[in-house]
């Protein structure tokens, strides 16, 4: 079974530029998550989708971050404009979405963003 795919794996940009990350979840997984992991910290949930609807985006900085999952499969996360403090690894995860709070999340390899 293929895992969660993410691209690019690494990205270096200057502050005030924009950047986009792509995620392809495990086939058949209805729920998709985007996390931000700053160096030395645990992952922090940014947004959760159930199919193509947003379940929770309370920790997404909406003035600069946006995410979409138009067809309920792939998802993109965008930052515009980027700030220095956005330097982090952005993780995508997916789960079946049929077991509620006991669903196991499967993580992708992440995209390491460096903002200069």
């Amino acid at each position: 079974e293929a895992g969660v795919a993410q691209s690019p794996r690494y990205k270096i940009i200057e502050k005030r530029q924009s950047v986009a990350f792509w995620c392809n979840p495990i086939s058949g997984h209805a729920t998709l998550y985007w996390y931000q992991q700053i160096l030395g910290q645990g992952p922090k949930l940014l947004i959760q989708f159930q199919n193509n609807g947003v379940v929770d985006d309370s920790q997404l900085p909406k003035d600069r971050f946006s995410a979409e999952r138009l067809k309920g499969v792939d998802s993109t996360l965008k930052i515009q404009p980027a700030k220095l403090e956005d330097s982090a690894v952005y993780l995508c995860a997916s789960s079946l979405g049929n077991r509620g709070s006991t669903d196991t999340q499967y993580f992708g390899p992440g995209t390491r963003l460096t903002v200069l």
């Binding site: 895992g3 645990g42 979405g97 196991t104 993580f107 390899p109």
Partner: protein, 114 residues
């Protein structure tokens, strides 16, 4: 706000030593508890999870964790570590069955010396 704490940021052990990593959370309601592991160069992967029933849960690779409700803790243990257990370990909590949202602790980096 609900939070998860892992007090040991770095742990260094010799092979065959016993391991216990602490995890505490700040909530008295219903919780679902997870330990994830990230081996060098690999993805985060689930080690074990607790939802209900026997508070002592067993996971992959000989790991186990015990849920102590009165102490708001879910510590990870392994009787005898191997060099291949070198990794970063994350405790995660789903509070009050809130969808499937996880709150992660800050992680513990374990190094096992051969």
């Amino acid at each position: 706000a609900q939070s998860v704490s892992q007090h040991n940021h770095h742990v260094i052990l010799s092979e065959a030593a016993s391991l216990e990593l602490g995890c505490n959370y700040s909530y008295g309601g219903t919780v679902n508890l997870f330990w994830y592991v990230q081996y060098p160069g690999q993805h985060l992967q689930l080690l074990l999870k607790y939802f209900s029933g026997d508070p002592l849960v067993k996971g992959i690779k000989g790991f186990e964790a015990e849920f102590i409700k009165s102490k708001f803790s879910f510590n990870l243990r392994k009787p005898s570590v191997q060099w291949s257990d070198t990794a970063e370990y994350f405790c995660a909590v789903n509070f009050n069955n809130a969808g499937n949202m996880l709150t992660f602790g800050g992680g513990t980096r374990l190094m096992v010396k051969p």
